[in-house]
């Protein structure tokens, strides 16, 4: 029983992880999509500046181009960074291939859409450049050639960082804020197979009424490899479906920025996970412990032994390690003699996340993708076994 619960938790974690990883880059991509004000600026022959929300003239652009040139002076340093990043990305790809051999969805998916080819023909400058938020400019931007040099390095670094920065930009928490609604409304459609779930229209008000709708809307904008569209889509539906139906501060989702903030945290967790992976791959002593390797009780004991939490078992810092993992089931129910609680899940149901799943989601970055996906497959196998029980 514990195995089943554990793998299910892992599967849920996987869903969230993939969801975050794919959503976030999708939102990052939104930065590059010419938004309405940007289009207006373009119509006037000027450039939209996301930081000020104003249209810039050629003279102002010249000044910015100089700044961009300064950025280009750092190119050498950026090249070094890129070399490192490419090595890391190569390791990630190898790791993904290993995991692909297990026949499950792999981190290839989160990374693939998040690292658009740096050689893209459009001369768009990404505001998601790590540490150097730039202007959103249109394709007519004359000074863009000066700034493109600085972008590839950032593009090819660990994508989670890009995504996190982009998310901050989207929500105005970073230095250059792009209106969320404008960014989201113009996203191109994705290719996920979301089953018969109704994808909500983008609200004319510019704001979604529920995190679930927002999540589903974003899911409809995500593109992945065709052979994974069904699997990833299913995970998205599961992930989004478990989100609360309305923006309510008590659920941890008071607004779209809250949702984005959760995803933001996840991206950082994701980055950490990748980092662990590199360590592992480089042959360092593997001293990190992931939530999918321990029960909740074991994780708690490890966490208690070192509250600095080097294994990042308590991603959300609430003092509970790996809270999505099952506690020792036997001890929970062996002594319980009361009536079963609540309704009976005798429909085509999956175990729902609690409405306030923000805390649970925060632990997502801890789950090793390989473990989560592999176990998800096992989970399906277990379903065939009448001796095991699932919700």
């Amino acid at each position: 029983m514990r195995v089943v619960r554990g793998t299910r938790s892992a599967a849920v974690l996987m869903a969230g992880l993939v969801g975050a990883a794919v959503i976030a880059p999708g939102m990052a991509f939104a930065d590059e999509t010419p938004s309405s004000p940007a289009a207006e600026c373009a119509a006037q022959g000027t450039i939209y500046d996301a930081r000020t929300g104003a249209c810039l003239t050629a003279a102002e652009l010249t000044a910015r181009a100089q700044a961009a040139a300064e950025a280009a002076q750092e190119k050498a340093r950026a090249e070094a960074v890129r070399a490192q990043a490419e090595a890391a990305a190569q390791q990630a790809r190898e790791r993904a291939q290993e995991q692909a051999a297990t026949g499950a969805a792999t981190p290839t998916t989160p990374t693939a859409p998040s690292t658009p080819a740096p050689t893209t023909s459009t001369s768009t400058v990404s505001p998601s450049t790590v540490g150097t938020p730039d202007d959103v400019v249109t394709e007519e931007q004359p000074a863009s050639t000066a700034t493109t040099a600085a972008t590839p390095a950032a593009r090819s670094t660990v994508s989670a960082e890009d995504a996190a920065t982009a998310l901050q930009n989207l929500t105005g928490r970073g230095r250059s804020a792009l209106p969320v609604a404008d960014a989201l409304a113009d996203l191109p459609s994705g290719n996920l197979d979301l089953g018969d779930v109704t994808i909500p229209e983008f609200p004319s008000t510019g704001s979604f009424s529920s995190p679930r709708d927002a999540c589903l809307y974003l899911a409809s904008k995500v593109s992945v490899d065709a052979d994974q569209a069904a699997a990833i889509g299913q995970q998205f539906v599961s992930f989004c479906g478990a989100l609360p139906g309305s923006f309510d501060p008590s659920t941890g989702y008071g607004s779209l920025p809250d949702l984005v903030a959760v995803l933001d945290r996840l991206c950082h967790g994701l980055k950490d996970t990748h980092h662990d992976g590199y360590h592992h791959h480089d042959g360092y002593v593997r001293d990190d412990i992931n939530c999918d390797e321990v029960t909740g009780d074991e994780a708690q004991a490890i966490y208690e032994s070192d509250r600095s939490d080097p294994n990042n078992l308590d991603g959300d810092g609430d003092g509970i390690a790996c809270e999505d993992n099952p506690r020792d089931y036997e001890t929970v129910t062996a002594d319980y003699d009361g009536y079963p609680r609540g309704g009976v899940a005798t429909g085509d149901s999956t175990p729902g996340l609690a409405p306030g799943s923000a805390a649970a989601l925060a632990g997502l970055g801890l789950a090793s993708l390989a473990g989560a996906t592999r176990r998800r497959d096992e989970d399906v196998d277990v379903d065939e076994d009448a001796d095991e029980v699932r919700v």
Binding site: Y329, V332, T333, S349, T350
Partner: protein, 204 residues
Amino acid sequence: MTRTRSTLLVWVLAIVAAVVVLAALTSGPGSARTGTSTVSVPAGAAGEPLPLAASAPTGIEIPAIGLTRDAVMKLGYNEDLSLQVPPDAATVGWFARGAAPGTNGPAVFASHVDYHGAEGGFAHLSDLRAGDQILVHRADGSSVMFVVDRVDQASKQAFPTAQVYGPTGDAQIRLITCGGEFDAATRNYEDNVIVFGHAERAWR
């Protein structure tokens, strides 16, 4: 003119008759039933006084919805202390930490209404009517015949826990499955369908 009118009348009557026949043919066994569904007591069976001593169920028959199972799995609690449910569509489970069928108290059975696209064991549970009979076979070789008292539908958010699991002065039965609106987003039904019944007789 008269001839035309009578021809029209014949056509109308024929159409009405056809509709009636069609309705009778297409309506399910539940809604078209007039009487209640009974189980047959094997000849020569020795009656047993209720309540019985505890013994686990090994099979269940509900002729009214065409259900026959010669195995019943035991259910416990989920980690959140909710009732476990069978891992597949067809299996019927019995809450083993509650009353055994035939003993005083409610014997609780659960099965899916549907599961992963397959029709569940209790898919037609809501078609049961008061008076329908349910037969439960037990490990000690005895059988208990229950009679349906009522069929309820309750929100999972306001599940009638005490009514379903609470103590009773006689041997009773509860059959639980899902019902109501299906929330595609959470892949959950909003309600539970609950059949309440009492043991009428037992034999071995």
